[in-house]
């Protein structure tokens, strides 16, 4: 199938960047345009739930994880998945892990409860490591003040099946406190931590609602943003899950640790979401520098997820701000904000709760929206930052 969107049409929503100050010695930030027709429509009347993680693998395939049934309204949204069905064919929740090729075609899907591991109550971040393994954080349901929408009849399997309000409520699952590792085909490889056994900042075996993962393939280590329950970054052996080290924020203790991401030069960037802070550390956990993004943001905070530009130096850092509904562009060396794109809304290029961000080898940006955003979007790199 041929590409569909004429550039002229796309440029109508060219996402102009707003430099925050005159750019004397500032590098010009990259510019983007949304591709309103990426990805292609899902098959089988599948729907995305709240998208909690986006990652791009070495093949430029885009991976997402979403909350599926538990984030959907049984009465109104998934009439073909209730018992009895209340609609003929539409809609049903898509499997929780979806793999798209660069053209936006769904090429893989898996996930959900299995035999030897504990599928999350609610997934958080997803990571694709250089060896092709897929990591998923078990983050627990979003803990966001005021996130509950006011739509009546949010099902969650509480009401009677006769009205199509979902299946009878199952016993609550133990609280998320772990990280899972799979092959790209979805074969279970490793679990770190146990559901229902949350740890604290000192624990060497237990996590507490971890939000995200980064993998250092050369060192065979996995960095865990831990998370929504604990307030630390914890590092484990990526094969055995053995604890190696942790840190809790440097000069300022972490608030909500929403992500950890590793740059090519080995710097670890942490989303200190509730403090509107991006904090950069070396691999041992020594604070190198930190920067504040959107300092006036209250509520959830502004720093939800981080990704790096695709140039060799990774000169820019992208911050998904699911409260201000935009993606900020920062200089990676100084952590100064040099631009942003996006706005609130349910249309292409606008966001509701943009909580995850990733970049492919060509510099295109992908975003995931949680809560009722429920989308993955692609922003095509139009002008490389220089």
């Amino acid at each position: 199938m041929t590409r569909i969107v004429p550039f002229a049409a796309v440029s109508l929503v060219a996402l102009a960047l707003a430099p925050l100050r005159p750019a004397a010695q500032q590098p010009a930030p990259p510019t983007f345009q949304v591709d309103p027709l990426w990805p292609k429509p899902l098959p089988n009347h599948w729907l995305l739930g709240s998208v909690t993680g986006v990652a791009v693998d070495a093949r430029d395939h885009v991976w997402i994880v979403h909350r599926g049934y538990d984030s959907m309204t049984a009465r109104t949204e998934i009439g073909a998945a209730t018992n009895p069905k209340t609609a003929d064919e539409c809609c049903v929740p898509a499997p929780p892990v979806l793999e798209f090729d660069a053209a936006g075609t769904l090429v893989g899907h898996w996930g959900g409860p299995g035999g030897t591991f504990e599928w999350p109550v609610s997934p958080g971040g997803i990571a694709a490591d250089a060896k092709g393994s897929i990591w998923i954080a078990a983050a627990g349901p979003p803990d966001i003040p005021g996130a509950g929408n006011l739509t009546a009849g949010r099902g969650r399997g509480t009401a009677t099946a006769a009205q199509g309000r979902g299946t009878p409520a199952a016993a609550p699952k133990p609280q998320d406190a772990h990280v899972l590792k799979f092959s790209r085909a979805g074969a279970f490889l490793l679990q770190i931590g146990k559901a229902g056994q949350p740890g604290d900042d000192e624990s060497t075996t237990a996590l507490n609602k971890p939000a995200g993962i980064a993998v250092d393939t050369a060192a065979n280590e996995v960095y865990v943003a831990d998370g929504f329950g604990s307030h630390r970054v914890a590092v484990f052996d990526a094969s055995t899950g053995a604890f190696k080290r942790k840190w809790t924020g440097g000069d300022t203790p972490f608030g909500t640790v929403g992500c950890v991401k590793l740059a090519r030069d080995g710097t670890a960037y942490v989303c200190d979401r509730s403090r509107n802070r991006v904090a950069a550390f070396d691999k041992s956990g020594t604070l190198l520098r930190s920067g504040v993004v959107s300092p006036d943001t209250k509520g959830t905070g502004s720093v939800w997820d981080i990704a790096f530009s695709s140039d060799p130096q990774q000169r820019f850092l992208y911050v998904a701000d699911g409260h201000d509904q935009k993606v900020f562009i920062l200089r990676r060396d100084t952590l100064e904000t040099v631009g942003s794109f996006g706005d609130g809304g349910r249309y292409p290029g606008t966001f509701y709760s943009v909580g995850s961000v990733a970049v492919d080898s060509r510099g295109n940006v992908y975003t995931g929206e949680t809560l009722e955003g429920k989308r993955v979007q692609k922003f095509v790199l139009k002008g490389a930052g220089r």
């Binding site: 199938m1 569909i4 969107v5 049409a9 796309v10 109508l12 929503v13 309103p36 027709l37 429509p41 899902l42 009347h45 729907l47 995305l48 309204t73 009465r75 109104t76 949204e77 009439g79 069905k85 209340t86 609609a87 003929d88 064919e89 539409c90 809609c91 966001i144 003040p145 005021g146 996130a147 509950g148 929408n149 006011l150 739509t151 006769a162 009205q163 199509g164 959107s294 943001t297 209250k298 509520g299 959830t300 502004s302 409260h323 201000d324 509904q325 706005d343 609130g344 809304g345 349910r346 249309y347 292409p348 290029g349 606008t350 509701y352 709760s353 809560l371 955003g373 429920k374 989308r375």
Partner: protein, 401 residues
């Protein structure tokens, strides 16, 4: 099933596959044999309007405005598109900039009534509580009549009224008082009225009444005085509860709330959305029952018959039906009420729906939709002319597909 012979060349082979898929789709939709015969009989030359979504319409809203549930839609004589939405349902996380103090730079609640020009630019906005009238606790349905008046319904528990404004938002008339509805035979109040149609020639307004009552009411469009009303099959409406819709039992002889639309065609037929009963009922303007059509009868809960609009040719040959439960728009032959094709699917991408609630057409035949619940969009589907139907269920209609 067709067996494809070896060496069957690619084009013919894919044609065969398409026809197999087509037949499967027909079977899946439980189309009657009669319709199937009709479709196949004339070499698949059933003709119907074709549409493609415009993924970049409307233009981004100004002022970091966001929409709540978009619960009403109308196109005026200048092809401006009007919506009404429930700004009051935007929570503190989504409308973070409307909080006191604001918790983020985005987003702010857009005013409840928005007017877009044909290019998709917001050119007008108003609405909300003010002295002199009762703004609905939950607005529902918007109609711009031929004279340029704007009518708004109301469907919260106590809402019992219809409001009439100028296009500039100046209050003109209120019919009914909140909390005063006395049921489906009340001649002063409505019961959570859903939508209004105005017959400017007869100077009458048809009110789909509604979420509380179970009737169609016709009022004088200037005075608001009740002229006549009727229930399903033209019966006297009855507020007896019949419980939930069940396709396995005989259809009830009353509407089931909500009565969601009442649209008058050029040739003088009133098409009524009996939403949870999964049926369209057709009447003469005096309330005489003409016929009915059941649609997607396995649909429970919210039902399949949400809103109706007619094609823009003088004969109004086609009828469009929004189904916010199965997430599609049916294209029907208005005379026979047979489904010719459908488009749309569930989802948050362009051309997809979550609870497609309202639809309307402009003078060029472009079709607009709005979505309630968490869909919260106004979308435009560009009219691409009358074309042979190649797929019963077209799914997401993207440009160039």
């Amino acid at each position: 099933m067709t067996v494809v012979p070896r060496g069957f060349h690619l084009q013919a082979r894919s044609r065969a596959l398409i026809s197999v898929a087509f037949l499967a789709a027909l079977a899946g939709l439980a189309i009657t044999e009669r319709t199937l015969a009709r479709v196949v009989q004339s070499k698949g030359t059933v003709m119907a309007p074709r549409f493609e979504v415009d993924p970049l319409w409307p233009k981004p809203l100004p002022n970091h405005w966001v929409l709540g549930q978009v619960i009403g839609l109308s196109v005026d004589a200048q092809d401006h598109v009007w919506i009404v939405h429930r700004d009051n349902l935007l929570g503190p996380n989504e409308a973070a900039a409307s909080q006191n103090p604001p918790t983020a730079s985005c987003c702010a609640k857009a005013p409840p009534v928005l007017e877009f020009d044909p290019a998709g630019t917001v050119v007008g906005h108003w609405g909300g509580p003010a002295d002199g009238y009762d703004w609905p606790a939950s607005n529902h349905g918007i109609t711009v009549d031929d004279k340029g008046n704007v009518w708004i319904g109301a469907n919260e528990g106590n809402d019992a009224h219809v409001l009439k404004f100028t296009k500039a938002g100046k209050f003109l008339m209120q019919i009914g008082k909140p909390g005063q509805n006395k049921g489906s035979n009340d001649t002063d109040n409505f019961g959570r009225p859903a939508k209004i149609f105005v017959d400017s020639k007869a100077n009458e307004a048809y009110v789909a009444d509604g979420y509380g009552n179970k009737r169609v009411v016709v009022i004088d469009a200037d005075t608001g005085k009740f002229k006549r009303y009727w229930g399903a099959y033209g019966n006297k409406p009855d507020d007896t509860s019949f419980g939930n819709y069940d396709p396995k039992v005989p259809p009830i002889k009353q509407f089931r709330s909500p009565v969601h639309c009442a649209e008058l065609s050029n040739d003088g037929l009133v098409y009524v959305c009996d939403r949870p009963n999964d049926r369209i009922q057709v009447f003469t303007p005096d309330g005489t029952f003409v016929k009915e059509k059941f649609v997607a009868t396995n649909t429970l809960g919210d039902g399949s018959v949400w809103d109706i609009a007619f094609s823009k040719d003088p004969q109004q040959k086609f009828l469009f039906l929004a189904d916010g439960k199965n997430e599609k728009i049916y294209v029907m032959d208005r005379a026979s009420l047979e489904i010719l094709t459908s488009f749309g699917d569930g989802g948050r991408q362009p051309g997809q729906f979550f609870a497609v609630h309202s639809l309307a057409l402009d003078s060029k035949g472009n079709l607009y939709t709005t979505e309630t619940y968490e869909g919260r969009r106004l979308q435009k589907f560009v009219y691409k002319g009358i074309a042979p139907v190649t797929k019963m269920d077209q799914g997401t209609v993207w440009p160039g597909k």
